[in-house]
C-alpha cells in the first residue's frame, strides 16, 4: 500500500469516528428556561435552518410560552409541530409566533418542522 493510501485511509476512518461522535454521541447543549413573575416559562427560539436553542429544559406543571422567530423564508421551517401535545403553529417569516403548552409529565418531548427535517427537544423536569 502506498503512503498516500495509508494516510487517506487513516484520515477517512478518523473522520468517520468524528462524524459518529459529533452527531450521535456528543452532549447537546441544553437551555434551561427561567420562570417569569407571572409563572410562565418563556423561551425565545430562533428558527433559521434549525432551532436555536434546540434543547429546552422546563419544569413540569407550569405553562411554557415558546416564542418562535422564523428568520428565514425557506419553506422547510414554515410549520412547527409538537406531536405529543397535538399542537402546531404556522410560523410567519420575520415575526414572533407564540405557542403555549403546559407539560404535566416530566419527560422528553420532541418538536420538529412539518417535514421532520429540523428537530428540537423539550425536556420537562
Amino acid at each position: 500500500m502506498l503512503t498516500a493510501q495509508i494516510i487517506v485511509t487513516l484520515a477517512g476512518l478518523g473522520l468517520i469516528v468524528l462524524i459518529a461522535w459529533f452527531f450521535w454521541f456528543s452532549e447537546h447543549k441544553a437551555t434551561v428556561v427561567g420562570t417569569s413573575s407571572s409563572g410562565v416559562q418563556e423561551a425565545f427560539i430562533k428558527v433559521k435552518g434549525g432551532y436555536s436553542p434546540d434543547v429546552i429544559v422546563v419544569e413540569a406543571g407550569k405553562p411554557v410560552r415558546l416564542n418562535f422567530n422564523r428568520e428565514e423564508t425557506a419553506v422547510c421551517s414554515e410549520q412547527v409541530l409538537f406531536p405529543d401535545f397535538d399542537k402546531q403553529a404556522i410560523l410567519t417569516p420575520f415575526k414572533t409566533v407564540t405557542l403555549e403548552i403546559t407539560p404535566d409529565k416530566p419527560g422528553e418531548y420532541g418538536f420538529q418542522c412539518g417535514m421532520g427535517m429540523l428537530h428540537g427537544k423539550l425536556i420537562v423536569r
Binding site: G49, V75, T96, G110, G114
Partner: protein, 886 residues
C-alpha cells in the same frame, strides 16, 4: 422599585434610561421606551398602570358584576347558582334574578375574578352570556406590555378574561356585553397607552386566516426567489457545461483540458460558480450551519458538503495543476457544482408549489368562516363583526348569505347548503326548531335564528381546530421513520467517506478523481427530505379530505387504526335507526277508517308528552288529520292514556289496559302480534269500550343504513349490532338492514364490556355510536366513531366524528383511512427504496460488475425530484371520492 410608564415593567432606579417631567422622575426598561416617552410625555406621564380602567368598583375594593345567565328555567336554578357562588372565597353578595335571567355578584377582586365566577356558573350547569372579542393592539414593545394590558382589562368590570398576544399584536377578550361594551374595552386599552384596531388577526388554530395568508404570501415569495436562483444557476451552468465538455462538443483544441486557454477559462468558471454556490445555493450553507450548531445533519449538510468538496478540488486543480502528479488528475467539476445547485433548487421550488395544494382543504375550511353577521338589536337590524355575536342573539339571514354562527331557527324557513360541513350535497330543508350551522349557505328563503354557539364554540371553529390538531399529530408509522431519520444523514456521510477510501485505495486510476466523484454523488443523491415528508404530507391531505366529506379524524393514530379494523360494532338507536319513534302502521277495524283511528289517537295524546305520542301527533298533522282538544286526560303509567275526545271516551294503550277495561281484542290481537314480532310497538285504540284499531310506532331505520351496511360487508368487515333493546325488536331491525350478528339486551354500562369481549376474539373493533350514551364503549373500542348530531362535533370519546349522521360516513371513513395509509406506504416505500438503491449505486457498487458509475449531476436530478414525487403522490389523494374503492 419604580415602573416603566410605557410597558409597566419594574425597573431599577440605577438604570441609565430615565427622564424627568414636572419634577417627577420616570425610569425606563430600554432606550426605545425612553424615546417614546420623550416624544410625548403627556401621553404617558399620567398613564401609570391602575388609572386606566373605567372602574365602577366600590370604595372598599369590592366590585360589581352583572352576568346574564342562560339555561335557567326554574326557581331552584337561581338557588343553586346562588349556592354555588356563595361557596366561593371572595364572593360577597349574590342575587340571581330568574325573570331577567341576570346574576348580580359583588366580589373582592383580590380573591376572585370574573372568569372564575363565570366558570363556576358553568360548573353548576348554566351558561353565561358572554361575548368574545378579538382586537388588534399596536404599540406593544415588550413582554410586560402584555401583562399590563391583561391586568388592566382584568380590573375592568364586565371583562371575564383577557389574553394578549405580543407576537400577533392582538388580544382575545371574553366579556359580558351587558356590563361593558366593545367601546369601553377599547378605551381601557387606549388609556393604557396602546392603539386598538378592530378585528385583529386572531390567533390560535381556529382563527388564523391572517397568518395563513401571510404564510402563503411568504411561500409564494420563496417560490419566486428559488426560481430566480434556479434561472441564475442554470444560465451560469450552460457555458460552464459547454467548456467542460469541449472535446465532446467539438470545440477547437485550444479549449481542451490541460491547455493554457482552458486553465484561464477554468479560473473564470471557478469565479462564476461562486455566486451560484453562495447565492443560488445559500440555503444549503445556512441550513447546514444551523443544523451543525444543534449537532444534527440534514439535506443541506449533505448538499453543501458535496458541492464544496467538488468546488475546492476543482479550484486547486485549476490554480495549481503542477501539484498533481498526473495531468488527468487536474480536472475540474464546476459543471457538477452548478448543475447540482440548479436542479436541487428547482426541485425545492416545485415542491413548494405542490405542497401549497396539499393544504388546500384547511384553507378552504378557514375561508368558510363568515366575517359579519346581521343581528337584531333594539329592534333594528345591524351588521356587526361575527366575533361580536352574543349567545341567544337573534341573527337574520337572507337568501344567498352565509349563516354566521350556530343556532336554532326561530322564524321563517329555507333550504340550506350544508355540504361544506357535512359533505352532504343535497340542500337541507330547515324550519323553526331546526339547528343551523355557521358557515353554511342559505339558498332560498330568509329566516331568523337564535345563536346557540359563538366564537370558538361553533361547529366550524371546532372542525378547523380538530383538523389542524390531527394534521399536526403523528401517525404511529411515523415514529419508526423518525428513528431512521435521526441516523440517516450522518450515516450517509459515513458511507460517502467510506466509499472515498475504498475507491482511493482499490479503485482504477485516476483514483483520486473517482473517489471524489463517488463521494460527491453519494452526498448528493441521498434524500432525507423524501423520507421525512412521506407520512406527514399524506396525513395532511387525508385528514383534510376527510373534513371535506364530513369525516373528522382526530389524530394520525386514528387514521392509521381505522384501516386495521376487521369488525364494526354498530349501536342500534340513533346509529342504524333514526333514534326517534315514528308512526309505522295504522290498522282500522269495526268500520272505522285509518284517519278516524289517527284522529282519536292523536287527540288523546295531545295532552301527553310521551315520545310515542309525539310521533302519532306528528304523523296526524302531516297527513292533515284534525287533532282536537281532549278533556279528562288521564295517564295510566305502564298502560297507556285515556281521555274524552268529541264526547267519546277513548283509550290508547297496551293489551293490559284493554284487559283491565274489558275491551275485547279478538279480531285485532293477531295483527298486533305480527307488528310486535317486527320490532314495532303496537297500541290499541278503543272508543267507548270497543276496540277501534291499532296504531304501531317504531324507531325507523335510516334511509341509507342498509346500503351502508352492505357496503361495509363487501369491504370484508364483520358487522355486529349492539343494543339494549329486547331481542325481538333488535333482530327485526337487524333483518331489515342485513346484520347477522346481534348482541341484544345489553345494559348501557355493559356495552364497553361487550366490545372488550369481541376484542378478545382477536378482532380489531370499530365502535359506532352517538358519543353520549356509548362513550365508554367508544373509548374501549380500538377506534370509536361518533355519529354527530348537528353542531356537536368535538365528541370527546371518539377518534372519528361523522358530522353527517349517515352510516355511509363509516364506509367513507374506512375507505379514506385505507386510501391514506396506502398512499403513506407508497411514499415510504418509494423514499426508502430510492435511498436504498440510490446510495449504493452512487457509492459505485455497480462499477465492479457493470462498469457503471453515476454522474453527480444525475444524482442531483434524482434527489431533487424524489421529494417532489412524494408530494405529488400525496396530492393524488385529493382526488379521493367516498364510495369509490381506491
Amino acid at each position: 422599585m419604580p415602573k416603566d410608564p410605557l410597558c409597566g415593567m419594574a425597573v431599577d432606579e440605577s438604570t441609565e434610561f430615565h427622564s424627568e417631567r414636572d419634577g417627577e422622575k420616570f425610569y425606563f426598561c430600554s432606550p426605545a421606551c425612553k424615546s417614546k416617552f420623550d416624544e410625548s410625555p403627556d401621553k404617558y406621564a399620567g398613564a401609570v398602570p391602575g388609572n386606566g380602567a373605567t372602574s365602577t368598583s366600590h370604595r372598599d375594593g369590592t366590585q360589581n358584576l352583572k352576568l346574564s345567565i342562560i339555561g335557567m328555567d326554574c326557581v331552584t336554578c337561581a338557588v343553586s347558582i346562588e349556592k354555588q357562588l356563595g361557596a366561593m372565597d371572595g364572593v360577597k353578595k349574590i342575587n340571581v334574578n330568574l325573570t331577567t335571567e341576570n346574576a348580580f355578584v359583588e366580589y373582592d377582586p383580590a380573591k376572585v375574578n370574573g372568569k372564575q365566577i363565570a366558570d363556576s356558573i358553568g360548573a353548576a350547569g348554566y351558561r353565561v352570556g358572554k361575548a368574545t372579542l378579538n382586537l388588534g393592539i399596536g404599540g406593544m414593545y415588550c413582554g410586560s406590555c402584555v401583562t399590563k394590558i391583561e391586568e388592566g382589562l382584568a380590573r375592568t368590570p364586565g371583562v371575564l378574561s383577557a389574553s394578549v398576544d405580543l407576537a400577533s399584536e392582538s388580544a382575545v377578550i371574553d366579556y359580558v356585553p351587558a356590563t361593558v361594551q366593545m367601546k369601553g374595552i377599547k378605551e381601557v386599552i387606549e388609556k393604557l397607552g396602546y392603539r386598538v384596531f378592530d378585528s385583529a388577526p386572531p390567533r390560535d388554530g381556529v382563527d388564523r386566516p391572517g397568518e395563513m395568508d401571510e404564510a402563503q404570501k411568504a411561500r409564494l415569495e420563496e417560490y419566486r426567489t428559488l426560481m430566480r436562483k434556479f434561472i441564475f444557476a442554470a444560465s451560469v451552468g450552460a457555458p460552464i457545461i459547454i467548456f467542460s465538455y469541449a472535446k465532446l462538443l467539438g470545440l477547437p483544441a485550444d479549449f481542451y483540458e490541460g491547455t493554457e486557454t482552458a486553465r484561464y477559462i477554468g479560473i473564470a468558471m471557478g469565479l462564476l460558480t461562486l455566486p451560484v454556490m453562495f447565492w443560488s445555493g445559500s440555503q444549503f450553507f445556512t441550513g447546514a450551519w444551523a443544523a451543525l450548531k444543534s449537532r444534527s445533519a440534514n439535506m443541506h449538510t449533505l448538499i453543501s458538503t458535496g458541492i464544496s468538496a467538488a468546488w475546492i478540488y476543482s479550484t486547486i486543480a485549476v490554480l495549481f495543476p503542477q501539484i498533481f502528479p498526473k495531468q488527468a488528475l487536474a480536472g475540474q467539476f464546476y459543471d457538477t457544482v452548478t448543475v447540482v445547485v440548479a436542479l436541487v433548487v428547482l426541485g425545492m421550488a416545485l415542491e413548494i408549489r405542490a405542497k401549497g395544494k396539499s393544504s388546500e382543504a384547511i384553507k378552504k375550511l378557514i375561508g368558510l368562516q363568515p366575517k359579519t353577521a346581521r343581528v337584531v338589536r333594539d329592534g333594528k337590524e345591524i351588521d356587526i363583526p361575527v366575533e361580536e355575536v352574543v349567545l341567544d342573539e337573534i341573527v337574520v339571514v337572507r337568501p344567498g348569505e352565509k349563516v354566521s354562527v350556530d343556532g336554532v331557527l326561530v322564524e321563517g324557513s329555507s333550504s340550506l347548503d350544508e355540504s361544506m360541513i357535512t359533505g352532504e350535497s343535497i340542500p337541507v330543508e330547515k324550519q323553526a326548531g331546526d339547528e343551523v350551522i355557521g358557515g353554511t349557505i342559505n339558498k332560498t328563503g330568509s329566516f331568523k335564528f337564535k345563536a346557540t354557539k359563538v366564537g370558538k364554540d361553533t361547529a366550524l371553529a371546532q372542525i378547523i381546530e380538530m383538523v389542524q390538531q390531527a394534521q399536526s399529530s403523528k401517525a404511529p408509522i411515523q415514529r419508526v421513520v423518525d428513528k431512521v431519520a435521526g441516523y440517516f444523514s450522518p450515516a450517509v456521510m459515513i458511507i460517502a467517506v467510506l466509499a472515498f477510501i475504498i475507491w482511493f485505495d482499490f479503485g482504477p486510476q485516476p483514483a483520486l478523481i473517482y473517489a471524489l466523484i463517488v463521494f460527491v454523488t453519494t452526498m448528493v443523491i441521498a434524500c432525507p427530505c423524501a423520507l421525512g415528508i412521506a407520512t406527514p404530507i399524506s396525513l395532511m391531505v387525508g385528514v383534510g379530505k376527510g373534513a371535506e366529506n364530513g369525516i373528522l379524524i382526530k389524530s394520525g393514530q386514528a387514521l392509521e387504526m381505522a384501516q386495521k379494523i376487521n369488525s364494526i360494532v354498530l349501536d342500534k338507536t340513533g346509529t342504524i335507526t333514526v333514534g326517534k319513534p315514528s308512526l309505522t302502521d295504522v290498522v282500522a277495524s269495526n268500520g272505522m277508517s285509518e284517519n278516524d283511528i289517527l284522529h282519536f289517537a292523536a287527540s288523546v295524546e295531545k295532552g301527553s308528552e310521551h315520545p310515542l305520542g309525539e310521533a302519532i301527533i306528528r304523523d296526524a298533522t302531516e297527513r292533515g288529520i284534525p287533532v282536537t282538544d281532549s278533556s279528562k286526560f288521564n295517564a295510566i303509567p305502564g298502560h297507556g292514556v285515556e281521555a274524552v275526545v268529541d264526547g267519546q271516551t277513548v283509550l290508547l294503550g297496551n293489551s293490559r289496559l284493554m284487559k283491565d277495561r274489558h275491551v275485547e281484542l279478538a279480531n285485532v290481537q293477531e295483527k298486533s302480534n305480527d307488528l310486535a314480532a317486527n320490532g314495532k310497538t303496537p297500541m290499541f285504540v278503543a272508543v267507548d269500550g270497543k276496540v277501534a284499531g291499532i296504531v304501531a310506532v317504531a324507531d325507523t331505520v335510516k334511509e341509507d343504513s342498509k346500503e351502508a351496511i352492505l357496503h361495509l360487508k363487501s369491504m370484508g368487515l364483520e358487522v355486529v349490532m349492539l343494543t339494549g333493546d329486547n331481542r325481538g325488536t333488535a333482530e327485526a331491525i337487524a333483518r331489515q338492514v342485513g346484520i347477522d350478528r346481534v348482541l341484544a339486551e345489553v345494559l348501557p354500562e355493559e356495552k364497553a364490556f361487550n366490545v372488550q369481549k369481541l376484542q378478545q376474539e382477536g378482532k380489531k373493533i370499530a365502535m359506532v355510536g352517538d358519543g353520549i350514551n356509548d362513550a365508554p364503549a367508544l373509548a374501549q373500542a380500538d377506534i370509536g366513531l361518533a355519529i354527530g348530531t348537528g353542531t356537536d362535533v368535538a365528541i370527546e370519546a371518539s377518534d372519528i366524528t361523522l358530522i353527517n349522521g349517515s352510516l355511509k360516513g363509516v364506509v367513507s371513513a374506512v375507505e379514506l383511512s385505507r386510501a391514506t395509509m396506502k398512499n403513506i406506504r407508497q411514499n415510504l416505500f418509494g423514499a426508502f427504496f430510492y435511498n436504498a438503491l440510490g446510495i449504493p449505486i452512487a457509492a459505485g457498487l455497480l462499477y465492479p460488475f457493470f462498469g457503471v458509475l453515476l454522474s453527480p449531476m444525475i444524482a442531483g436530478a434524482a434527489m431533487a425530484f424524489s421529494s417532489v414525487t412524494v408530494v405529488t403522490n400525496a396530492n393524488r389523494l385529493r382526488r379521493f371520492v367516498p364510495g369509490k374503492e381506491h
